[in-house]
Symmetry: C2
Subunit: 363 residues, 2 copies
C-alpha cells in the first residue's frame, strides 16, 4: 500500500475529513515535492490530504513548476495571499467539517488563527501528532536503497578528506573541507553541522569545530552526514594522526566491542533499550559507564534525527525496516573522546550494516 | 539603555513577571549566546527574562562552557530532563504568577503543555508576539558596524567568484563556489541558500540553482548573503558574460534608475510603501509594472528577513537605524530577469548605502 493510501486510511480512522501537513519531511514523504523551507515561518508549501480523493499541495508561484513536476497525483493550488486566506476558501468549497493539523509542527500563533477560522466556519480543528512520522518509521525497499546511497557518498567524502588530513589543520578547516566536498560530490545538502573535535574538544559529544590546530597523537572525532535524494546519512569515525598511545587504543577497542555487542543484539522484536543496554554493559563493565552520557542511537531517514530513539528508557519494540544509528562513545573530560557510529537496517533476525568504511577498525 | 533593560521594562508594562524567549535570534540579541538550533524542535536553549533581576539561560550540558562564556549577566542553568520539567521547578521557586511566551516561535503542542503546566501551578501563560523583534528593528551603532562588515565580506566573496565566472559553468557550481568561499573566508554561515539563475531561470525571483550551463549574453542573477558575527548580509547582482544585447542593457538601466529613485526617497518618517512606490513608478512608467512582482525590500539584521517590509501595502513609518534591502527587479518570463539589491541604513535625512561593489554599474 502506498504511503498516501495509508495516511488517507489513518485520517478516516481519526474521524477527520482531511489532514493539513505542515512538517516539511512529511510533505516530501507524501507528495514527492522536494522544496525545502527557509524556516518554519517561511514555508514552501503545505498539503491538504482528504480522507478520500485527490490531495492538494498549496504553494505559491515561486514553486509552481517544481510542484507540478514533482507532486505526482496532487492537485497544485497557488496561494495568492496568506495560507490562512487560501485555506478559508478551499475548506468552504470542499465542505470539510473536521480538519486535523500537525500540532508538533505548527506555531502556536498560527494554530490559534486556524482555530479562529474553524470557529467562524463551523470546522472542528483537531490537533494530531506523529501520524505521518508513524509511517516514516519503517522504510520501504526504495527508501533503504536511497539511504544506502547516501551512506556510501558520505563515506567516500570522509575517505577523500581523511586522505589529506594532517597535523596543523584546524578543526574548522577540516569541517569546511568535508562540507564543500559533500556539495561538490552531489549531495543535496549537509544533513547537520559537521563535527570535527580534536583532543579535549573530543570529550564534548556535540562539539562545534573550533580554530584549534590538531596535533599528532590526539583523538579526532569526525561526525558527518549528508542528504542525497532527500535521505540522510550520519556517520562518526574517531581517528588519530600519527601513533596513538596505548590508553587511547584501549578505549577505541572498547567502543568497538560495545558497538559489536549492540549489533549482535539488534533485531526486530527486542525493545530499544535492550540494544542500548548491550553496548552500555560492555562500557560499564570496563569502568567507563559514566563516560557514555548519551543514548545508543536514533532513527534516520528524510530527517537526520527521527524515531525510534535507542536509549536506556525506551521500551518500544524495534521493527523490521527501521534504519537506526548505533553510536556508542566514551568521553574523558579534559582529555579526549571516542565515538563510532554506523547505520543499520533492522531485520527480522538481525540487522544489516549500511557502512563499508573500515577506518576505525585498523587499530 | 541596553536591550535587556528595554525588554525588562516592556515585560513589566505587559504586567508579566517574566518572558520565555524561544526565538533563536531573540535569544542571541538579548543574551549574546551564539549557539544555533538544529531545528525548532532541537533548541540550544531558551531565556527566562524576569521583569526585574537576573535573567536565566536554560540550556544543557553540551552548551555549558559556551553559555557561561558568552551570556554575560545571565545565570546559566543546565536542564537535566525536558525544558518543561526544568521550567516547572524554576517557576515554582521564583514564584512567577504571569509568564509571557513567544506565540510566534513556540510549537502548538509545546504551548499546550506549557499551558497545562500553568494551570496546575496557578500560573497565567500569556501569548505575546514580536516584543523582542520590536527592539531589534532599529539597529545600534555596534550592530550597524557588524552589518557593514558582513556586507563587505559578502562583496569580496562575490568579487572573487565573479573574477572566475565564465560560460560553461553551471548555476549550481557557481553557487557552491560562492558558499564555500564564504565559509573559507570566515563567515559563520550562509545567510540563505545562494541563488544563481541564468537565462530563463533568472525570470524566477526565487530560483534554485540548476545544472544548467551558463552561456554568453544571458542575464545571470546572483543573490547571496552570509552571516558574520551573527549579522546577515544580502546582495543581488545581475551580470552578463560577454556582450549583453541592447534590450538587456535597457532593462538593467531601468532597474538601476528605479533603485536610485527609491534611494533618493528613503528616509526616516516616510511610509514603507512610499519607498516601494518610488521604485515601482519608474518601472511601471516604462511599461514593466507587471514584471516587478515582489516588494522593494525587507529588514536585515540577526535574521536575513525581518521587519520592516517595504512593499506597496505597508503604511508603517520608516525609522532611523533601520537596515533594509532595496531590491527592485524586472522579470521577463521565458527570457530572463534583472534584480539589483543593496542594503541601506535609514537616517533622519536620507539613507546610507552599505554596499561598495559597483559591478552592476559598469554597463
Amino acid at each position: 500500500m502506498k504511503s498516501l493510501d495509508k495516511i488517507q486510511a489513518a485520517i478516516r480512522r481519526k474521524g477527520a475529513d482531511a489532514l493539513l501537513v505542515t512538517q516539511p519531511e512529511n510533505r516530501r514523504y507524501l507528495s514527492g515535492f522536494t522544496a525545502t523551507d527557509l524556516s518554519i515561518a517561511e514555508s514552501a508549501g503545505v498539503l491538504l490530504v482528504p480522507g478520500r480523493g485527490t490531495p492538494l499541495l498549496l504553494t505559491d508561484s515561486r514553486y509552481q513548476l517544481q510542484a507540478e513536476k514533482e507532486a505526482v497525483g496532487f492537485e497544485v493550488l497557488l496561494l495568492q495571499g496568506s495560507l490562512l486566506e487560501g485555506l478559508k476558501r478551499i475548506l468552504r468549497r470542499r465542505g470539510h467539517r473536521r480538519l486535523a493539523f500537525e500540532s508538533h509542527y505548527l506555531l502556536y500563533g498560527a494554530a490559534i488563527k486556524l482555530m479562529d477560522l474553524g470557529q467562524k466556519q463551523g470546522i472542528e480543528m483537531i490537533p494530531v501528532s506523529g501520524m505521518v512520522e508513524k509511517l516514516r518509521i519503517r522504510k520501504s525497499r526504495e527508501e533503504i536503497q536511497k539511504i544506502q546511497q547516501s551512506v556510501l557518498l558520505n563515506e567516500s567524502v570522509f575517505q577523500e578528506v581523511f586522505a589529506h588530513l594532517k597535523p596543523g589543520k584546524t578543526e574548522r578547516e577540516v569541517a569546511l573541507d568535508i562540507e564543500s566536498t559533500m556539495m561538490h560530490r552531489g549531495a543535496d545538502a549537509v544533513a547537520f553541522p559537521t563535527i570535527v573535535a580534536a583532543g579535549p574538544n573530543a570529550a564534548l559529544p556535540h562539539a562545534v569545530p573550533t580554530d584549534r590546530v590538531m596535533s599528532e597523537g590526539e583523538t579526532i572525532i569526525i561526525d558527518m552526514g549528508l542528504k542525497l535524494d532527500g535521505y540522510c546519512s550520519d556517520m562518526t569515525r574517531t581517528v588519530v594522526l600519527g601513533k596513538p598511545d596505548k590508553g587511547i587504543v584501549k578505549i577505541i577497542r572498547l567502543v568497538r566491542k560495545a558497538q559489536r555487542a549492540a549489533l549482535k543484539t539488534i533485531k526486530a522484536g527486542i525493545m530499544a533499550r535492550e540494544a542500548d543496554r548491550a553496548a552500555r554493559e560492555v562500557i560499564s563493565g570496563a569502568g567507563y559507564g559514566k563516560n557514555f552520557g548519551h543514548g545508543l542511537g536514533h532513527g534516520v531517514g528524510l530527517a537526520v534525527h527521527e524515531s525510534p530513539s535507542l536509549n536506556r528508557m525506551r521500551r518500544n519494540k524495534l521493527q523490521a525496516g527501521m534504519v537506526v544509528t548505533v553510536e556508542p562513545g566514551i568521553y574523558l573530560p579534559g582529555r579526549g573522546g571516542v565515538r563510532l557510529e554506523n547505520m543499520v537496517v533492522i531485520e527480522k533476525k538481525g540487522c544489516t550494516i549500511l557502512n563499508r568504511d573500515k577506518t576505525f577498525l585498523d587499530l
